[in-house]
Symmetry: C2
Subunit: 321 residues, 2 copies
C-alpha cells in the first residue's frame, strides 16, 4: 500500500441539485441548511417534486479528499456505491481527480445513494439524503493497511448514522492510532450532531483534529460557541471552528488563531464549503504549515467551491495558492 | 391530445460535462466546437480520460422545448431513453419543466444516450455523442395526433444521422403539414451539416422555419453567409441565422431583420446557446410577435444559458422579458 496523506471514510453519494424558491422548503417540510435522512420512497417523492436537476458526485469526506487531491495531496477514499450507472459515475469522478477508490461496488442491494440538494435564492443548500448502498459500509470494508499507510484518517460525522458504519469508524480509529497516525473528524452538519451528539462526544477521545461550524460545536456541548471551542480543545489536539462569512477560529491547547473568509464576487451555492475548508486545512497540516496557514488554505478552497454550483473544485486548487 | 405550441423531435441525451485544457482536445483528436458521433467503446474511452464531470439532461431539441416551457409555452418532446437510471433522470428533468414526454423508455437495447461535453477555458464546448437508445426512435414513435395538435413541429438536424430517425422526421413533417402546422428545423451543428448536407438541403422544401448559424448555412449552400441566407430564404418562409456574439439576422422573403446579442458578464459555457435562441424565437413566433421581437426573445434566452454551466435555463425565462 503506497503512503497517503489522508485516507477518508464516508458516504459515497451522488448529489442531485435543483434550484427552488424558499416556499418549496415549507411545502415539503424541509429545514433550511440541514441535512436530513430519508428512505427510498420519501426520496422518490421529493425528487418528483424537485425541478430539473443536475447530478454531480458528492459525499462530505469524498469532497474533502477531492479537494486535497486538487491541492496535490495523496488521498484514498473508502465508501460504497452500488453496481449501477450512478455508481459508475461516482467511481469515475473520484478517480478522475486522483483519489484512490478501492472498494468494489455492492451488488444486489440498494442503489447508489444520493443527496437531494435544494438550493434556494440565498445560495443556501438543504439536503435530503437517501443513503442506499453507502449505508452498507461496515468494518469488513476497512482495510487496516490502507489506514495505516496514511498520516491522517479522516472521518465524516454522517458515519455515526448507520450502526455498522459506526463499527467501521471504530475500527479505522484503532488502526490509525496503532500505526501512529492521527484521526480527523468532521461533524458534517448540525442535523447530524442533533441525531448523534452523545456518540460523537464519546468518540472525541479518539479524535486528534476536529472540524465543525459554530452551530455544530454549540449543539455538541450545549454551551455558547467560545465555551464549546474550549471544551473541544480540551479533548482534541486541534479544533477548527468555521464561522461562515466570518472566517474561522483554530484552537490548539490554549492557542487561538483566527482567519478571515475570502471574499467571493457572488456566492452561488454553499454546498461543500465546510468540506473544502477541511481539504485546505488538511493540505496545510499534512505539509507541516503553521495553523494560520492551514486556515488560509481552507479559506481559499472554500471560496472556490461556493462561487459555483457543486461541491468539488472546478479548477486545480494548487493553482490558487 | 391537448393543443401544444410546439412538439419537438430529437435525440434524448444526458450531457456529461467536464472542464479540460485545450490540449485535451488535441490528445483525443477532438475538433473544437464540433459535435461528433462516437460508438459505445469510444465513448467509454473518452469518458475515462475526462476529469470529474457533472450530468444534466440535454439534447438539442429538448433544450429548446425546455426553454419554450420556461417562457410559458406549451411543449411536448418525442425522444427515446432506455429503462435505466440516466433515462429516469432524463424523464424527470424534462417533465419537471413542464414538457410533455410521452414515449416509454426502451428496454433491452442500448443504454440512455449521452453527450460527452468538454468545456475549454474559452467557454467553447466540444461534443462527442454516443446516441444509445436515442438512435432507436423511428416512424412508429411519431404520434400523428400529437404532431397535429401542435402549431409547430420542431426538428433537430441530428435526426438526419440515424436512418430510421430520418423516416420519423419525414412522417412528422407530413403529419404537421396535413394538419396545417408549420415545420421548424434547427441544423444543430456544423458537423451535422457536413455529414448530412445533401439530405438537409433536400428536406428544406418541407421546412417553414429554419434555424442555423453562419457556419452551418455556409456549409449547406457552399457560398458566403449572405448568399446562403438568400438561398435559404428562397426555400423557407423564415430563416434565423445566428452569428454568436454578433447577434442574428432573420430573413423572410426579401425582408432582413438584424438583432444584437445581449451582453453577458462572463460567458461560462456556450452549450445550448443555439438551442435557447430557438426557444426564445419560437416563443415570439407562436405568440404572434414581429420578427425583431422574436429575435430579441431568442437573444434573452441565449444570454441566460451561456452565463452558467449547462444547456437549460436556471431561472424562469418568462421572468426575464
Amino acid at each position: 500500500m503506497p503512503p497517503f496523506d489522508v485516507v477518508g471514510i464516508g458516504n459515497a453519494l451522488v448529489d442531485v441539485i435543483s434550484h427552488e424558491r424558499d416556499a418549496f422548503l415549507d411545502e415539503h417540510g424541509l429545514r433550511k441548511g440541514i441535512q436530513a435522512l430519508v428512505d427510498g420512497p420519501e426520496a422518490e417523492r421529493l425528487y418528483a417534486a424537485m425541478g430539473s436537476a443536475s447530478e454531480a458526485s458528492g459525499g462530505s469526506a469524498a469532497n474533502t479528499l477531492a479537494g486535497l487531491a486538487s491541492f496535490g495531496g495523496r488521498a484514498a477514499f473508502l465508501g460504497r456505491v452500488a453496481d449501477d450507472q450512478l455508481g459508475a459515475v461516482y467511481a469515475h469522478d473520484i478517480e478522475a481527480v486522483g483519489v484512490i477508490f478501492p472498494l468494489a461496488p455492492a451488488t444486489g442491494g440498494s442503489p447508489t445513494g444520493r443527496c437531494l440538494i435544494v438550493v434556494t435564492p440565498d445560495a443556501e443548500r438543504t439536503m435530503s439524503t437517501f443513503l442506499g448502498a453507502a449505508a452498507e459500509i461496515g468494518p469488513e470494508d476497512i482495510d487496516e493497511d490502507a489506514v495505516a499507510a496514511a498520516g491522517i484518517c479522516y472521518l465524516e460525522g454522517y458515519l455515526f448514522d448507520p450502526p455498522q458504519a459506526r463499527e467501521a469508524l471504530a475500527k479505522a480509529i484503532a488502526a490509525s492510532h496503532r500505526a501512529g497516525g492521527k484521526v480527523a473528524l468532521s461533524m458534517s452538519d448540525p442535523g447530524c450532531v442533533e441525531r448523534n451528539g452523545p456518540l460523537i462526544a464519546d468518540a472525541l477521545e479518539g479524535v486528534d483534529l476536529l472540524f465543525g461550524n459554530e452551530d455544530e460545536l454549540v449543539l455538541l456541548f450545549g454551551t455558547d460557541a467560545d465555551a464549546a471551542l474550549d471544551e473541544a480543545a480540551a479533548r482534541c489536539e486541534v479544533v477548527a471552528m468555521t464561522r461562515g462569512p466570518a472566517g474561522c477560529v483554530v484552537a490548539r491547547g490554549d492557542e487561538r488563531v483566527s482567519a478571515p473568509a475570502l471574499s467571493v464576487d457572488a456566492v452561488v451555492d454553499t454546498t461543500g464549503a465546510g468540506d473544502l475548508f477541511a481539504a485546505g486545512f488538511l493540505r496545510g497540516f499534512t505539509t507541516g504549515r503553521p495553523l494560520a496557514e492551514c486556515a488560509r488554505l481552507g479559506a481559499v478552497a472554500a471560496a472556490e467551491v461556493i462561487a459555483h454550483v457543486g461541491a468539488r473544485p472546478q479548477v486545480p486548487l494548487a493553482g490558487l495558492v
